[in-house]
């Protein structure tokens, strides 16, 4: 009996999963911290301790500040657009109309398409000579010469934002729609009895009820946008003139193109800390807002 109990201990159930996480998440993260304190050039078999000097270099590295600014701008614009559009589309999809299940499925589609494919798809749409976007704008008379969407520093980051919004807006729709479905019908009936207009019902019932769902959407999307890599890397590779280089892309280039593993690790650690701080701050905010409504 005793033997049997031991075999059944809850810890044994979680052991394989925790062991794996230790190997694939905790250990690499610790290694990254350790690497960031060293000079590491694997191909030259060079490896030595340099203390915090990478962090000092980073502080004085204009490319770091630019990639931070790019990432912050990308995150702010794409997350606001996604949540605003997502809210609108979720309200639409919540209405009653024919073939609702199919239409919901179609709207979710972009989110399941591999990000790399989505980036390629937009790259082709943006193509300066053969792209359909320029063709449509030219035909509509909105522009007189084709624009170089991905080659012009002022346009490239915005073009990447549009591609990202297209790809991830469905995720916002999904979460907000789930929130909408939890609004109790009684509230609407009560509002109608009290003679509330549609606008009042929306403003005083639907919206406050959606605060947690929208908050979680903002949280998830922000954390995702701050670590953005795939869509921008494939679209522009960080160019033109590093105007679309995000923190993740700069880190990747440092580690795998110039092979400065140590310096790359320092930037990775800083990126990690930034995301951690933003995440904790947003969760704190979310809790405060949810508590007051």
């Amino acid at each position: 009996m005793r033997q049997r109990q031991n075999n059944d201990h809850p810890v044994l159930f979680v052991l394989p999963a925790l062991g794996l996480m230790l190997v694939v998440a905790v250990y690499p993260l610790i290694t990254t911290f350790w690497l960031s304190l060293r000079d590491e050039f694997p191909i030259f078999h060079l490896s030595c301790f340099v203390g915090l000097s990478h962090y000092v270099t980073l502080w004085n590295d204009p490319r770091f500040w630019q990639s931070l600014a790019n990432t912050a701008y990308f995150t702010a614009v794409s997350v606001s657009a996604e949540v605003a559009l997502g809210l609108g589309v979720a309200l639409l999809l919540h209405q009653v109309f024919p073939a609702r299940g199919l239409i919901r499925g179609l709207v979710l589609m972009p989110w399941f398409i591999p990000t790399v494919v989505a980036a390629r798809l937009w790259e082709w749409i943006y193509h300066p000579h053969f792209g359909v976007l320029n063709a449509l704008l030219l035909q509509g008379g909105l522009i007189t010469t084709g624009l170089n969407w991905l080659g012009q520093p002022t346009l490239a980051l915005h073009a990447a934002v549009v591609a990202d919004v297209w790809k991830t807006m469905p995720f916002a729709v999904l979460l907000i729609l789930a929130g909408l479905q939890t609004v109790p019908g009684d509230l609407y009936r009560a509002a109608r009895v009290d003679g509330a207009t549609a606008a009042q019902t929306f403003w005083h019932i639907t919206l406050p009820w959606l605060v947690p769902a929208v908050g979680i959407t903002v949280l998830f999307r922000t954390l995702d946008a701050l670590r953005v890599f795939d869509v921008v890397y494939v679209l522009t590779g960080g160019g033109p003139a590093n105007t679309t280089e995000t923190l993740s892309i700069y880190t990747y280039r440092l580690s795998f193109q110039t092979l400065e593993f140590g310096y790359g690790a320092a930037l990775a650690v800083v990126t990690f800390i930034i995301i951690l701080v933003v995440s904790l701050f947003l969760q704190f905010l979310l809790r405060r807002v949810s508590a007051t409504t």
Partner: protein, 291 residues
Amino acid sequence: MNRPRVTQFFSKRRDRVIRYVGARLLVSVGLLFTLAFCLFPVLWQVITALKPASDLATVPPFFPTQPTLDHFHTVFTQRPFARILFNSTAVAILTTCVCLLAGTPAAFAFAKLRVPGQRGLLTGILAVSMFPPIAIVGSLFLLIRFLRLRDTWWALILADTTFTLPLTIWVLTSFFRDVPDDLLRAARVDGCTARQALWHVFLPVVTPGLTTAALLTFVFAWNEFLFALTFTATDASRTVPVEIALFPGVHEMPWGEIAAAATVVSLPLLILVVVAQRRFVSGLTAGAVKG
């Protein structure tokens, strides 16, 4: 109001009809725009894939003058695309197996048994799924090189597990929680060990949860790019996203072939979404809203 009652009634009713029609119209137009925005890029890709090479360098015409399957043919005959599809499929399926094997007992224990330090562990697991992959890709690279796993499926499976295992555990825990505790108690009374209870009593009940977790893991592994870009070197392990990102071109990018390849890899996912939409939705919202 000194209007006669009858007209007042009619005008009120007319108002309501106008408002109803207006609202319907607004919904229809909104849906039309939404669908156009969401579907146009995908449709354009399919149209591009069907265009003969001579049509690619000019728009308009917007539609292919003579639809052709040439690009699909080229992708499969002149490139190792079949092998790459096989790599992607194998990595996605094996990652899903690893995650379900390790994740199911863990989720069961978190939901139904008492694991010491449970809250902290669950929070930690969720935190891992949110941290930037770039923070570990460098050290994972060194680890994989040390294990001599570079350019193998197992490198990708190991790396993908970092993010899919937390997802699996999180989704499954929420499904296990929905099963009444009485079921475990009844199984215990009948003399089941926790392990037997999981196998014979709980697994059949949470099959929908397992399907959901498996689908999400599969899609994640199928789409993963950063790790695949870093840890693969040749056709031996290269996956579809890397192949599409690195599609080689001599002078100009082979856009028709890229579009054909993109269509081929999107197709299974699109079918999956339309068929199993409810599974995906329940999984994603279970992780987010309940947590």
